[in-house]
């Protein structure tokens, strides 16, 4: 059996621009690293979460979780939960009122993961629909008199 261990302590925050911890970079990341004795390099990134800060004029700062992924071989070890715990601590440290994110309605495993931990589906519960306007329409708008 391959020698394998997880270093939870290696979950760390990596600011993208050196402005500080809770400041306004375009995004920030948490990386999860597994230590494997059989790897020559000794460490390998096996999961990540990318997030940034958004704003709700009713409740103030929010933490927005843009991407969250753990490689399939490394699931079931509590890495996802640990990343989520870390994110929640970041959110609280930065005085965010809540954490928001998107999930595709067909992604049942993710929906179960989040709902088991107390997440609410605002689209189903309150009727929120996400809209997008692509660049070609932004250019059209900007060109109008």
């Amino acid at each position: 059996m391959k020698a394998f261990s997880l270093i939870h302590a290696c979950i760390f925050l990596k600011p993208m621009v050196g402005f500080g911890f809770c400041n306004y970079n375009f995004y920030e990341s948490i990386l999860s690293i597994a230590h494997n004795d059989t790897l020559i390099t000794g460490h390998s990134v096996v999961g990540f979460a990318m997030y940034y800060f958004t704003y709700d004029p009713w409740i103030g700062k929010l933490l927005y979780l843009e991407d969250f992924f753990v490689m399939s071989d490394f699931r079931g070890f509590g890495i996802g939960s640990e990343i989520l715990k870390n994110l929640s601590q970041v959110a609280m440290k930065c005085r965010c009122s809540s954490m928001h994110f998107l999930v595709a309605e067909w992604n049942k495993p993710s929906i179960n993961f989040y709902k088991k931990r107390g997440a609410s589906d605002l689209s189903s519960e309150e009727g929120w629909r996400l809209f997008k306007i692509d660049k070609e329409y932004l250019l059209k708008m900007a060109a109008e008199e």
Binding site: F26, W58, A119
Partner: protein, 170 residues
């Protein structure tokens, strides 16, 4: 005739913006959910590291009118990041007082945010709408917006305050 200009919000506008935020929350039938105060809006938007940007629609008095300019609408937005599309802009709130609606002010605010988005190298503009707000949905669709919840099944999720505290282990 009313002349309305769209301009960047100043710190002194926070009182007016707060008033309009409360009006919009009432319109969305969720007014008990407004928790922030004017001082939070000031600190979060006009401090060293702003967490949002805001445009206001200001009606200007006509010749001979004694009343001063008046903030009659706002658009609050911030920059986000998509791992698929890169820099985007997110329009969090847009509101025009009912008596000033129907004059294209909302469209002007959106257009101004679109200009800012392009200027900052954004490739997409996002916003959320409540499913019963047909008038807003029609306006956005007329501007080229697509409903991603309908088209791709995206749902907005949240870990709210108390739940998040539990996750943090506090």
């Amino acid at each position: 005739m009313v002349f309305v200009q769209i301009r960047e919000a100043k710190e002194g506008d926070c009182g007016h913006i707060m008033r309009l935020i409360r009006e919009l929350a009432e319109f969305e039938k969720l007014s008990d959910q407004v928790k922030i105060r004017e001082e939070d809006l000031r600190a979060d938007g006009f401090g060293e590291n702003p967490f949002y940007h805001c445009l206001v629609a200001e009606s200007l008095p006509g010749p001979g009118e004694s009343q001063g300019p008046c903030v009659v609408g706002y658009g609050l937005y911030y920059f986000i990041y998509s791992t698929w599309k890169g820099r985007n802009v997110y329009l969090e709130d847009i509101y025009v007082k009912p008596e000033y609606q129907g004059q294209g002010i909302g469209s002007k605010i959106i257009k101004k945010v679109a200009e800012v988005a392009l200027d900052k190298g954004c490739s997409q503009f996002r916003l959320s709408v409540l499913d019963w707000n047909k008038r807003a949905m029609d306006l956005y669709k007329a501007l080229g917006a697509q409903d991603l919840t309908e088209a791709e099944g995206w749902h907005s999720f949240r870990f709210e305050g108390e739940v998040m505290r539990k996750l943090a282990g506090k």
